[in-house]
């Protein structure tokens, strides 16, 4: 029997996500899927899954759950956080960017996320929910997909897919920097001509701030309103993740994975795909500047991002022997070595230092 997770505390918004629901936007079905797709791919690689296996996406802080029905292997990516694994009154602490074997019956607590508003918690075997229209991603607005079409709640039991759990736990020794440089690159258009020259200059020349209205659908931005030549309304046309639409208020909205498929507001620009994960990590209050690039430059940036990701995926190595010994000791004797736990938490602090 495969293991399950029993949720004791769900976290602010924990949802099942994969690489998204492609192929049904013509019917009005949004793509959804992980906001930070590179983090999803790294988490799945760390636990030995295919790239697109479903994982949990955490927002702001993680859940508390018990692993039942068998052992589980998990990995946290995309943010820094302390992962506490508690069994028989003993607690071990781990950091992100590595696989961790969780014995049956253990309780896992993931603390506040640092360095990002979201993170991916991948499990060997993936999250086992029904495939709806080709994907396991939760459509929170449409209320389907994922676990009963909603974010997880206390008491939920979420199954994991079958996984043989063989081989050593892997880690990524040089995690990616999560530091936001403050700039998102955009390609102007498709309706840049709907805006005044001043508006384009303002958009590219002043800072915007992520407002409190920020979720998986998009980020409403605060800053200098943008002026239109005629008006904000267009005959509705298609939207992509990264589209920056501007309603009549003149304040831009950066659309993310849960965006609707078509919309009737002029779109001044599109965030390039290589910067979407960074956009998805932003929290209310974050400052953003936009820099215009050409499509060719955007494509080159994406290729460069893919090269880095491929290098990271190729560089996963077994977790250092000392830590593995500690883990085996835990399984065998239900003992925890204080020395190794301290090392683990040093590791966590080092990871935190890298992102701050």
């Amino acid at each position: 029997m495969s293991a399950s997770l029993t949720l004791l505390q769900p976290g602010p918004q924990t949802s099942v996500q994969d690489a998204g629901r492609l192929g049904f936007q013509a019917y009005g079905v949004p793509v959804c899927g992980a906001l930070d797709e590179p983090a999803l791919r790294l988490a799945n690689a760390l636990v030995g899954n295919a790239a697109n296996a479903a994982a949990l996406e955490l927002r702001l802080a993680g859940p508390v759950f018990e692993v039942t029905g068998g052992p589980a292997r998990l990995a946290l990516t995309g943010a820094d956080a302390v992962i506490e694994v508690e069994q028989d009154g003993q607690t071990q602490r781990f950091g992100p960017w590595r696989a961790i074997d969780i014995p049956e019956g253990a309780r896992v607590r993931i603390g506040p996320l640092r360095g990002s508003g979201g993170a991916i918690l991948g499990f060997a075997g993936g999250i086992d929910v029904p495939v709806i229209l080709g994907s396991r991603a939760t459509d929170l607005k449409g209320r389907f997909g994922g676990h009963q079409g909603r974010a997880l709640a206390a008491g939920d039991v979420v199954g994991l897919g079958p996984s043989p759990l063989h081989g050593p736990c892997l880690e990524l020794q040089s995690p990616p920097s999560l530091a936001f440089g403050g700039t998102l690159r955009v390609v102007l258009g498709p309706q840049a001509e709907a805006f005044t020259e001043d508006a384009i200059a303002t958009f590219l020349g002043t800072a915007y701030r992520v407002s409190r209205e920020a979720d998986r659908m998009g980020l409403r931005l605060e800053g200098v309103p943008l002026g239109f030549r005629q008006g904000a309304d267009i005959v509705s046309d298609g939207i992509v993740t990264g589209s920056i639409q501007v309603p009549g208020s003149g304040l831009p909205i950066l659309l993310l994975a849960d965006h609707q498929t078509i919309g009737g507001y002029a779109k001044i620009a599109t965030v390039i795909s290589a910067d979407l994960a960074a956009a998805g990590r932003l929290l209310p209050g974050a400052g953003i500047r936009f820099a215009a690039v050409s499509v060719a430059q955007a494509e080159e940036a994406r290729r460069a991002q893919e090269r880095v990701l491929a290098q990271q995926l190729a560089a996963l190595v077994p977790v250092r022997a000392l830590a593995r010994v500690d883990h085996e000791a835990l399984l065998r004797e239900n003992l925890v070595s204080g020395v190794v736990s301290a090392l683990e938490s040093d590791e966590g602090r080092a990871a935190m230092d890298r992102i701050t």
């Binding site: 049904f24 019917y27 449409g142």
Partner: protein
């Protein structure tokens, strides 16, 4: 112009590159735009292009999204580039894209007015028509499915008779019930799920328009016809009960 040149010109003019302009949406999509207005002829070009790309997808194509006057072409920048995709799209011969009468016309039962259509009175007042006349005009037109979007299974149906052309509500409702039949400008539509909305609600249908367990997940397909059929409260309730038991089959007229 020689006859040969004329033939060549006509052939060239049916190529996408001569009929549409291409707009960039970052490095993951191109919009193929045929015009700036809502018109059956322009929308037919959009759906024709979508069908051709579905039959023979260029390298790197992910999916397409038809809208009123443009086709959004999503692509995977790891497998193609905007330049390569645009070149193959521009060469696409789209042949004849005639506006054809819908092959099927759905008959959608609607309870108009009252709690089912809380804006009917205002619509009657604003259009200076009686409520009965608003219903007669709304139900007296066969609409075309131009586009699906906004919500899963929301179909933009046009064209609404010009006498019923009113702007959207200035303050959208926070909650519009699923099944609400609504109008805005020259469009009518049905909210498939509960959602916020700014269209004027004139009636309600018990039918369901989106089922994620089905593929395709929507009742309507592009180019379908839709006719609204007024029903009384008792019939509306009976249909609602039948739909809840999975015992209701939406009716369809063949039109050609």
């Amino acid at each position: 112009m020689t006859e040969e040149n004329a033939v060549r010109h006509a052939a060239r003019s049916r190529r996408l590159g001569a009929l549409a302009r291409f707009l960039e949406l970052g490095d993951t999509a191109l919009a193929v735009e045929f015009g700036a207005t809502i018109a059956p002829e322009i929308n037919a070009l959009v759906h024709r292009t979508a069908a051709l790309l579905a039959a023979d997808p260029p390298e790197g194509l992910v999916e397409t999204v038809p809208t009123f006057r443009s086709l959004l072409v999503h692509y995977d920048p790891r497998r193609t580039s905007a330049a390569a995709l645009q070149e193959s799209l521009a060469a696409l011969d789209i042949g004849e894209a005639r506006v054809e009468a819908p092959a099927r016309i759905w008959r959608i039962p609607v309870l108009y007015g009252g709690e089912a259509g809380p804006d009917l009175t205002d619509v009657a007042r604003a259009t200076r028509l009686g409520e009965g006349e608003v219903i007669a005009r709304h139900a007296g037109t066969v609409y075309r499915v131009y586009v699906q979007g906004f919500l899963p299974g929301f179909a933009y149906l046009g064209d609404l008779p010009a006498e019923l052309d009113l702007p959207r509500l200035t303050t959208p409702r926070v909650r519009v019930p699923a099944g609400s039949v609504a109008i805005a400008q020259r469009m009518t539509g049905i909210y498939p799920v509960e959602s916020p909305g700014g269209w004027r609600l004139i009636g309600h249908t018990p039918l369901r328009f989106f089922d994620p367990a089905q593929a395709p997940p929507t009742l309507f397909a592009p180019g379908d016809g839709v006719r609204f059929v007024p029903v009384e409260a008792d019939e509306h309730a009976a249909i609602r009960a039948a739909v809840a038991h999975g015992a209701y089959q939406p009716a369809c007229e063949a039109s050609r």
